[in-house]
Structures are given as C-alpha cells and as structure tokens.
Amino acid sequence: MDEQRARYIGALIYTAFSLLGALAFLAATTLRGDYDWTARLGGAGWVFLLLMIILMPTVTPWVKKRLGGRQG
C-alpha cells in the first residue's frame, strides 16, 4: 500500500515538474527567437521526455524514503 502510495505521489511530482519544464521551454521559444510551431512543440515534447527520464528514477526513491522515514 505504502509502495503504491509512494509511486503515485512520485508520479505526480515528476510528471508535474516535467510538464513545467516543457511549458518553460514553450514560453522561452515564444518569447525569444523565431521558431515555428513544429520546433516549439517537438522541442517541448523532447524536453518533457528527457525530464521524465531524469526525474522518474530520482523522485521515486526520494519519495519512498521520505514516506518510509516519516513512518519510522
């Protein structure tokens, strides 16, 4: 149950941060430079994917540890 809860909370956190990163990328391409929508959306998608890959294995154990620590 705790394991599931940790995974769920972790998924919320890393998805949210990855989305934020992708949105930041979109904002940056809108404010600066002359990029077409393909580059903007494709780039945002790639940033989102890489951030998910980076954050997934980092956030999940961190959340597990935090939840485990609090219980203990």
Binding site: A39, G43, W46, L49, L50, I54, M56
Partner: protein, 864 residues
C-alpha cells in the same frame, strides 16, 4: 535491513542472473534484491552473471528473489535436475515429494509428473547438490535415478549463454540485412550508387517498411527492458538505446507521412539511423555474449573435471554408479586413464596421478597406500583402490569451484568506483543530452549551422534539417555514444579471468578484493616453522673425529632408539636412511635437559649437550669448535661419547623447503621486502634468514603475538602479506592485508586466508602476486580505455567539432564506436588466458634451480 536479522540466521546464496548487459543492470538487480524484506546484502557480478545474496530464509525465499529479478527484466536460469522416480502411486505421493523437496534449502521449484514418473527440480547448486535432492526422495521410499544425464550447473549456465547468443544472432540476422538495405536506399543518390541500387529502394515508404521490422523486432528488447526499469524507478543502458532509436524512428515516420510538419521534411528521414543504430547495438550485444563466456573458461574447465561415473566395490563386486551418489567410506576402484571420482585415501595399489588441474603441478604425483587422492584428477599408470573421504559438495574440487565462483561474484574496491560512476552515468547522460539539445536549439544552430555540412564518414548532408531536427540529432547521438558498457565490464571481466587463471595454478583468491590487495603488497612475512622450513627436524651434519661418521650416527641412533623426542626420532630416521643397523640398547635413560645415556653390549653411550659431557667428565677437545660453528648456523649440536671418549657431533635442524630460497629471490625480484616470523631465538632465526636471503627477522615471537607483529608493520605504512599455515597462523593471516594459507591440500574450505595455495610450494606465493599484478594491470588498462573512450566520445557526440569542421557524428557511427569499446575491453580480458606466472614457465629447469639454490636439506652423503 541487516539489523532486522538475528545473527546466525543469515544465509548466503549465489544465483545465476541472465540478461544483464551493463553496470546499470548490476545496479538494477542489486537494488531489486536489496529492496526485498530479509535480504541483508546483494552483490552482482556482471561478467560472471551471478548475484551473491545474504538473506534470512525465514523472511525471504528464493522464489521472492526470482520474482524481484524478473520484475526488473532479467531471468534466473536455475540449475535443473530431471529424475525418474519409480513408486509414485497418486497425488499424495506427488504432494509428499513436492513438500519434502520444496522444503530443502536451495530448491526453488518442484514439479512432479505422475504420467511420466518424472520429478523436475529447479535449484541452486550453491546451496544444495543433486545428490542431496535424490537422497531426500529416496528416503521417502521411492526409487530414484537420473532421467537423463544430470544437468550440471555448467550446462545450465552454458545453455543460458547460448540462448542469449542465439537470440542476439537472430536479431542480428534480421537487423543487419534490413539495415544495409535501408542504408543503400538512403544513399542511392550519392556517388555512382544509383547505377547499382534500384530506385524503389530509395522510396520513403519502402524505407519505412524495411526499417520498421528492425525497430520493432530486434529493437523491441530495449523498449521493453527500459520500460520495466523505469516502472521501478531504475535506469539502464536500454533506456539510452530506446530513446536514441525511438527518437530517430519517430522523426522519420513523421517526415514520411507528414512531410510538412516541419521536422526536416522528406530529406530528413532518419530510417538509416534507426535501423543501423539498432543493428550496431545488437552486434555489440552479440559479440559481448559470445566473448563474455570465454573469460570464465577456467571455471568451466574446473567444472568439466567433475567425473560423472564412479566404480565402487559392493560385496566384492565392482558396481558402476553416478559419481554424486558415492558415500564416504565407500571403496572405489580406479583404472589407468580414468578420472578419480571423489577425494579419498589409497588403500591398495600404486599409480602416478596427474594433479595439474587442481594444484598446477605439472609432474604426475606418485600414489601408494595411505596417500591422499583428489577427485577430478587423472589416474595415469596403475590401478588402485581407495576409500572415499569427501564426497559431493565436500570434495576439494567442489570447494575450489565454489570458492572461485564466490570470488568472481565479489567486487574489487576499484570496481566500486566504476560501478558508482556507471550507475549515475545514465542520468548524467540524459541531463547532458538535454543540455546539448537546449544549447543547439537556442544558440548553436543559429551561430554555426551550415546546410552543406555532413556526418563524419558519411556522404549524407544535413541540408534538410532545421533547428529542431539538428538539435535532436546531436542530443540523440550523445545518448548513444555515452553508453558506459565498457566501464561496467572493465573490472569484472579481468577479475574473472584472473581468478580462473589462479585456480588453474592451484592459487585460489577468495575475492576480488584479495586480488587487488595482493597486487599492492610491499612486504611478505613467512612463518618459519612448517612454511619456510619443513617443520620437522632432520640430521644435517655428522662430525667424526676419526672420519667414521656412520659409527657416530649409529651409536647416536642406538642411544635414541627408544626416545620419543623429535630430535631422537630424526637421528634414528637418518641412520635408517643410510642403511645402518640400529639394534636395541640394553639400558636406556633420558636425562632431562641434558640428553640420554644407553648401554649396548655393556658399553656406555652418551648423547647430549655440553652439560652432560661436563658432568660425565668427557673431554670435548676440537669437537667444541665444531659444535659452535654448527650452532652459529642455527643447528642443534649433540655430542656423542663412547664410554668416556667423545667421538663426534650430530647436528640436527629443521631443514628449509626446496623452494624457499628461490621464492625469496623471486619476491625480491618483484621488489618486495621479505620477512620471517618465528618463536626461535635471534641466532637460530638469523641463521635461517641468511640461508634464504630474508631481509627482516622477527624472532622470539610467541604464536599469540604474531598478529601484533603484523600490525606493527602495517602501522609503519606497509601493505603486508602473511604466509603461513591456515589453521595455526589464523590470527596473523586475518590481521595481514593478505593472508596466504599454504599447503591446504584438499581441505580448502577450512582455510582462513584471503588466498589459498593448494600446494605446499612457496613459489605459489610468487605466482599469486604475479597473477594478481597481471590481473590488476589488465583492469587498469580496461578502465583507462573505457573512461578514455567516454571522455573523448561525449564531446564529439555533442558536436564540439561542428563549429570548426562542420561535421557531426551520426547516431549509427556512435553505436558502432560504443560496440567496439565494449568489445575491446572483453577481448583484452580474454587475452589473459595465455598468461603463466614466470615461476611456472621454467619447468624442469626451474625445479633444478630450486634444488641448487638450497644447500641445506641435501642428502646426508653429501655432507662433510
């Protein structure tokens, strides 16, 4: 987790793990196992494809471990035995067998098939033997025999490896031709290729149709494995490949079906990238699977030595049975040319046995009644009978295999660094890929992009690419080129080959850390008695006033014949070896602290020290000077008097082993300081040390203080090895940086040292250091190459050359470089197979040199 387990309940098991390909896989499996309740520690060796687990059987089962390993995308290829079980009558018999066998430690699964009278058991040979399983079923009242030839762990392991080789070969056979077709189609418009390549191959839909089976077929494994890992919050190399291949394929598909979507258009279909990337990665996997098994050839050779059949005597008849069913105290018969099935003691007959496979000794060893024989060795000349003393998992060969397997499952300190780097590397690489993408997207493309620029070693132009396509391309190349596979393989592949090399020479390293420590040694301390010396006194010189040495020795032997003192026994033995008759004395009396007196044919014989001679008023004359000279050499001098006349001196000493002097000389040649530790007084110790050329003497050290002396040297900053008897010198061996237990013979398991020398030969100390140094040299070469590759390749992949030369590395070239990097590391480890320690290269010449080097211990005839 450790704290949760009651001491003494922790068990160790070595599980085979199939499907690992990099250091990140190691990390993944370790994490999965350590995440289980009841597991204290897990260490995984990539090259050996094994996981060593310390666990509490009450809290965690083997099935739990298998599930955890399968959960992260790997397999446990269990040892399996198929038995023909007769006498099963129904489901209750099935349940009985399942319950009884299933309860055995080390058994993972039991399947009973009543229709075919077959019982199939999955188990791990590190905890239980096939014979124990058979015995359990037999004890339930059933008749048991091997269904087929028993599947040894070797066969299982080999089959798992062959399966992997076959799988990757099939993948390669699909990917390579299709990849080449895709490449041919993509580059049709270049050079003169359009004359040879049909135009339809360049059609983007045909390219899609050719590339898709490559990505979804052979490339599927990377997507599945990385997804399995990500679900559990772990990453591995598969993720790098999956993102690389996936990104290239995804963009190519968009540019094929929606060319105006702005991803580079029709000219930027990366099908050749996706297809060749997959092909090269699969090629790397295939070559790795083929070569990796070869680094562990030595242990396979040891496993092959285990004989399958044995001939035992039952009621006077010779009966052939499976070797693993031999019981202790069975009498076995061995004929010329046959392997000896188990360990034992010769009871009848005479032969020469080739023990080179266990001890590394090249010459056959003569065996007669009372001599020990080792299971797995080869009987050469005669037939003999022997009584089994150690069977099944207790035999020397089984212990050696287990020891080497355990050693191969451990990690050298140097490996921990590379594993840590490799495990954090994947995340680092993805961060780097993100950084590279952002850099080229927001700056680099605008500053430097040239539509006429090309990929390195490729005619393909980048003209069709726009900012997103170009940035993505470099980002993907970074992911592919950075694979730290070589870093992960660098240490374990060399350590495996090194420990196998040791085992072939009768040198058993108990772990990778022992090998690393052995390579760094500065001082070697030898225990004197029983290590440098033979440990039993013998007559080294006989001095006679009138030149009749035999008479002196004979009288001394008569006087000592009834004595039980070791010095007396040495004198009697020497007289008999010379062929002298040693009749009984009519009277005999030991005079404590002085010597003995005896009477033969009414004549008085005195044998003893100066005090005895002084009390009996025997004048010693010139013999006194001789005695002093002998004592200077560390020998015990005993005067012999007939009546009241001194007639000679007999010198007794513990003699040096044949190999002592050469071993010390070789150690000096390796740049090591050599010390000797002994309870003897300074003078005796110095005399021995002079004869073998020892640098430092630690004399008058009580047995219990030896460990403290070792510590003193360590406190001086020296890395110290202690060479001694594994049982008596255990504390000193444990205290030393490396404890080398010498002459364990067949009793490998009892030894306390970090390195076990099977033979009683000091030259193996030199061999151990040479093998360890050679192995660590290979480890360093491998690490330098692997880290060097990544350090150089990552900036190339990130486009560092582009601003200057307008060229970038294509993802497929990156994959090729990565495959070559892993392959070179494995091949370097494989090249260790031909290594022989220099002391083994000399053959008979070296043996002659050994005998020449020691003056002491020569036959009595040669003395004086």
């Amino acid at each position: 987790m450790k704290g949760e387990m009651a001491e003494g309940k922790v068990k160790e098991v070595t599980l085979p793990v199939a499907g690992m390909s990099c250091a990140a896989c190691v990390n993944k499996v370790e994490k999965a196992l350590e995440g289980l309740k009841g597991v204290a520690s897990a260490r995984v060796n990539l090259a050996a494809a094994k996981a060593g687990v310390e666990y509490d059987p009450a809290a965690c089962s083997l099935a739990d471990m298998e599930e955890a390993i399968a959960g992260v995308g790997y397999e446990v290829p269990w040892d399996r035995i198929e038995l023909l079980v007769l006498g099963m009558m129904g489901s209750h018999c099935q349940q009985n067998i399942e319950r009884a066998v299933g309860a055995l430690d080390g058994v993972s699964k039991v399947q009973v098939n009543l229709g075919t009278d077959t019982v199939t058991v999955d188990y791990t040979a590190s905890l239980i033997s096939a014979a124990q399983i058979k015995k359990t079923i037999r004890d339930l009242g059933y008749e048991v025999s091997d269904k087929a030839e028993g599947e040894a762990s070797l066969d299982r392991e080999r089959r798992a490896r062959q399966q992997e080789v076959r799988r990757q070969l099939v993948n390669l056979l699909i990917a390579a031709p299709l990849g080449l077709l895709v490449m041919a189609g993509t580059f049709r418009d270049y050079w003169v290729l359009d004359k040879f390549i049909p135009s339809f191959l360049a059609n983007k839909y045909v390219l899609w149709a050719l590339a898709t089976p490559v990505v979804l077929g052979p490339g599927r494994q990377f997507f599945v494995n990385s997804f399995n890992g990500l679900r559990r919050g772990v990453t591995d190399m598969n993720l790098l490949y999956a993102t690389g291949i996936g990104a290239a394929y995804f963009i190519a598909v968009i540019n094929t079906f929606w060319p105006n979507a702005g991803f580079g258009g029709e000219k930027a279909t990366f099908y050749e990238s996706a297809a060749l990337l997959t092909t090269f990665i699969v090629l790397g996997r295939y070559l790795e699977a083929v070569t990796r098994g070869r680094t562990s050839e030595a242990i396979r050779k040891l496993m092959k030595l285990q004989p399958k059949r044995a001939r035992i005597l039952r009621d006077g008849q010779e009966v052939e049975i499976p070797a693993d069913e031999v019981q202790a105290d069975d009498i076995l018969v061995v004929r010329p040319g046959e392997s000896i099935p188990v360990d034992g003691v010769v009871s009848e007959g005479y032969s020469a046995v080739d023990e080179s496979m266990i001890t590394g000794e090249s010459l056959p060893v003569e065996k007669k009644a009372g001599d020990e024989v080792i299971g797995g060795t080869l009987n050469r000349t005669g037939a003999f009978r022997f009584r089994a003393t150690r069977v099944g998992k207790e035999t020397a060969l089984a212990q050696i295999i287990k020891l080497v397997e355990n050693a191969q499952a451990t990690k050298a300190p140097i490996q921990r660094l590379s594993d840590t780097v490799a495990s954090h590397f994947i995340l680092g690489v993805h961060m780097l890929a993100l950084g590279v993408f952002l850099f080229w997207f927001f700056g680099g493309f605008n500053w430097w992009f040239d539509p006429n620029s090309r990929f390195i070693l490729s005619p393909s132009e980048l003209s069709g690419l726009k900012v997103f396509g170009f940035s993505l391309l470099l980002s993907v190349t970074v992911l592919v080129i950075s694979c730290p596979c070589a870093v992960g393989l660098a240490t374990p592949s060399a350590i495996m080959a090194g420990s196998g090399l040791g085992a072939q020479n009768g040198i058993l390293f108990k772990g990778a850390d022992a090998m690393e420590a052995t390579a760094k040694l500065q001082t070697v301390i030898f225990d004197k008695t029983g290590t440098l010396t033979k440990g039993e006194p013998s007559v080294t010189e006989v001095v006679s006033l009138d030149g009749r040495q035999d008479d002196v020795l004979r009288l001394a032997a008569i006087a000592e014949k009834n004595s039980e003192h070791p010095l007396g026994e040495a004198i009697v033995r020497a007289a008999r070896e010379r062929g002298l008759a040693v009749p009984d004395a009519e009277e005999f009396a030991a005079i404590p602290g002085h010597g003995v007196e005896a009477r033969r044919n009414g004549n008085l014989i005195l044998l003893g020290n100066r005090r005895l001679m002084a009390e009996r008023q025997v004048a010693l004359g010139p013999l006194l000077a001789e005695a002093e000279r002998l004592e200077q050499d560390g020998k015990t001098a005993m005067f012999v008097a007939a009546g009241d006349q001194a007639i000679g001196v007999v010198a007794v000493a513990d003699t040096l082993k044949e190999s002592s002097a050469r071993a010390v000389e070789e150690l000096h040649r390796l740049g090591l300081e050599v010390a000797m530790i002994t309870g003897d007084n300074q003078r005796t110790a110095q005399a021995i040390a002079r004869q073998v050329g020892i640098d430092r003497v630690l004399a008058e050290v009580l047995p219990q203080d030896k460990a403290a002396e070792v510590r003193k040297l360590q406190e001086q900053g020296r890395r110290v090895a202690m060479v001694g008897d594994g049982i008596n010198d255990a504390p000193a061996l444990a205290q030393a940086d490396v404890g080398l237990a010498i002459g364990s013979g067949t009793d490998v398991a009892k030894e306390t040292g970090h390195v076990i020398l099977v033979k009683d030969d000091l030259l193996d100390v030199v061999g151990a250091i040479q093998i360890a140094r050679f192995t660590m040299r290979k480890v360093r070469q491998n690490l330098a190459w692997a880290f060097g590759y990544n350090t150089a390749a990552i900036p190339l992949g990130a486009g560092i050359l582009y601003p200057f030369f307008a060229q970038v590395v294509s993802p497929e070239l990156a994959a090729f470089l990565m495959a070559i990097s892993s392959l070179s590391v494995t091949l370097n480890a494989m090249s260790m197979r031909g290594f022989r320690p220099s002391i083994r290269r000399g053959g008979r010449l070296a043996q002659a040199a050994r005998q020449e080097a020691t003056g002491i211990g020569r036959p009595l005839e040669e003395v004086r």
